[in-house]
């Protein structure tokens, strides 16, 4: 590995549950103090939890490192410590170089200000100076495709325009070390590609990038090395493809989904797309007939099964659903295999949900992990806000017509 530019040693971060007082009102603090006067001096253990525990890592110069792990595993906390937003409880980190962090799209945007003013403001908040922003301003505007609206207050922007401008400012941030959290997970796929390209440029320019993402495909594409954070600790670190696969396997096996009980009469274990290659079980690459299978383990005979299936988009809008009644299932492993003539979804993140009831009693209701990623070529309107949720080929004919009678 090249010379490390980020070096952390035993970074730990403890949070107190219900910091200060849950409502943020002095009244409650006072009331609590009166109820148990000693609580002021007692920082009870059960009220604290470790968001990060003893994390030591190194990031080499020019390296693009991916951080993966499920929600609440500590990825973002680590990023916040490295970007100095919050302080570690113990341990230390040393960073050689100017750090820029992108934890959100549109940091510091003010709705009353125009696009131009916000570009300057947000740029300054992200760490650029005035000269730097002035120099890159034209590039930012054309990257955002907002030439005509740059002097309009952003409160009149569509959400797509807003996100594009915010992206454009962020994409032109050129620190030596860039810390990115999920920012690329929003916006339409064309714009995401544009941003990925820009990120690639950043990486090739010798800049160091630490990227937190739930989009495992993104991690695979962009990162050479990945770190899997689980329960505030580093679970695995190594080549991105290896770590991502291990993580996916773990998620699919359900062992990470500890909210679900695994000893009921039956549970869904994993899901995958049939016919796609093994390393991308959850990526739908093309239109046309597709099959998806859900693996179910049945522990005791079920005689009056109701089974339902749903497909949601990333805004949790229900796209499709179906159900089946009166099924009998014997103990053992079963595969539920659905075949659809086509699933014409525009590229993006989708999620399956499968449920099982026996004689009206819920047996399992699984929000399938991981999400399904659709990466088909978009064949709809090139502007996000006009494209809609279907990605269906269409044919337009313009033929002479006679006036209606």
């Amino acid at each position: 590995m090249s010379k490390p530019v980020i070096h952390t040693a035993g970074i730990s971060k403890r949070y107190r549950r219900g910091l200060a007082s849950p409502s943020g009102l002095l009244r409650d603090s006072i009331a609590r103090t009166f109820r148990s006067p000693l609580s002021l001096f007692r920082r009870a253990n059960q009220e604290t939890f470790w968001a990060l525990k003893d994390v030591s890592l190194e990031v080499g110069e020019g390296e693009v490192l991916g951080l993966i792990g499920r929600n609440g595993s500590g990825k973002t906390t680590l990023l916040k410590i490295l970007s100095r937003i919050t302080q570690p409880t113990s341990g230390w980190a040393e960073i050689h170089g100017r750090v820029g962090s992108l934890l959100e799209v549109g940091t510091g945007f003010h709705p009353e200000l125009t696009g131009r003013e916000n570009a300057y403001l947000s740029g300054a908040i992200l760490g650029m100076n005035r000269k730097e922003i002035a120099r890159k301003f034209d590039a930012i505007v054309s990257f955002a495709e907002l030439e005509k609206f740059i002097d309009t207050p952003v409160k009149h922007y569509s959400s797509g325009m807003y996100v594009r401008l915010a992206f454009a400012v962020a994409a032109h941030l050129e620190p030596e070390i860039l810390l990115v959290d999920e920012v690329l997970a929003v916006g339409d796929i064309n714009f995401q590609k544009k941003c990925l390209g820009k990120m690639g440029d950043v990486a090739r320019a010798g800049r160091t990038v630490v990227l937190v993402s739930h989009q495992l495909g993104q991690i695979r594409r962009l990162c050479l090395r990945a770190i899997w954070v689980d329960g505030g600790m580093i679970r695995q670190s190594g080549p991105a493809a290896e770590v991502v696969s291990a993580y996916e396997e773990n998620m699919a096996s359900g062992s990470l989904d500890d909210a679900r009980s695994l000893d009921g009469p039956a549970q869904f274990l994993r899901w995958k797309l049939i016919g796609s290659n093994r390393s991308a079980d959850h990526v739908l690459p093309s239109e046309g007939e597709m099959s998806v299978s859900f693996l179910l383990r049945v522990n005791q005979p079920l005689h009056s099964v109701h089974h339902g299936i749903n497909l949601y988009d990333q805004h949790r809008q229900l796209l499709w659903g179906n159900a089946l009644d009166g099924v009998t299932l014997d103990p053992g492993l079963h595969e539920f295999r659905y075949t659809l003539p086509t699933l014409p979804l525009r590229p993006g993140i989708y999620s399956w949900r499968v449920a099982l009831y026996d004689a009206g009693v819920r047996i399992d209701d699984w929000e399938c992990v991981p999400n399904m990623q659709v990466v088909t070529m978009p064949i709809t309107h090139y502007r996000d806000e006009y494209a809609g949720c279907l990605n269906i080929p269409s044919k337009l004919e313009i033929v002479p017509a006679t006036a209606p009678k």
């Binding site: 002095l26 040393e94 960073i95 300057y120 992200l126």
Partner: protein, 298 residues
Amino acid sequence: MATVTSNPSVAAPPGSSAPGPFTLRIAPPRGIFALRLREIWDYRELLYFFVWRDVKVRYKQTAIGILWVVLQPLLTMLVATLFFGRLAKLPSQGLPYSVFCFAGVVPWTYFSTSLLNVTNVVVENQRVITKVYFPRLILPVSAALSGLVDFSIAFVVLFIYTLAYGIHPTFTILFIPLFLLLAILTVLGVGLWLSALNALYRDVRYLIPFIIQFWTLASPVYYSSQLVYSSPLVPQRYRWLYGLNPMTGVIDGFRWALTGRGPVPSSVLIASVVMVLVAVVGGLAFFNLMEGSIADRV
């Protein structure tokens, strides 16, 4: 607290013998007086942008915009002149009451609006604070400075008003920046405490109107401070207490500097300055102490 210097209490990492110009150490917080003024200086452009944003946004979507800056103190002065000047006939140090009052209302308006803004600035910038790093101290400082734009405009109106009454400035006008600085420091001295507390306890938000209301009455905005000093109701030995209110020194001094009349600021002013410096140092230390955890707690 992240610092640019190395921390001798923690073992040095390998390969850190020759840190580059941008080497940064991140370690648990320590020392409440590590003020890192150098860092504030490095972030001066962001400070400028925050002030610029405040000023830009303040009167957007108002019909008469910047005119409010003039109307607010002007209307206050007119109403006060009617009640306190004409009806109550309060003494006004030999000045026309409306001039006397206007010269108090303008610095007072700066103080009260800025104190309110400084108190709320951390909470209002919650999103930015939790998403990006910069020295948090920039926020209250920017809120205290952005009020100066309004103040300057109101001051020009006040100046013209004073001239219209045939009161011409003397050399004392050179002291105005000094009293303005004292006002800014008073805003920060009190505001730093309140803004950090407000991040933890939103009660402060409800408390602040009372603080300002009480403080208005305890400052010589509408009445002359001579009224307090010469009142038989106030025992001689307690009169110095009035001087502990830094705004007494600011307003008396400001009025004196503008008109060249009234008592020359003296021992009371010294009491005010000492009070302000104590408040500012304490406020900085307290804000610094809270700064590290503000993002976690706001």
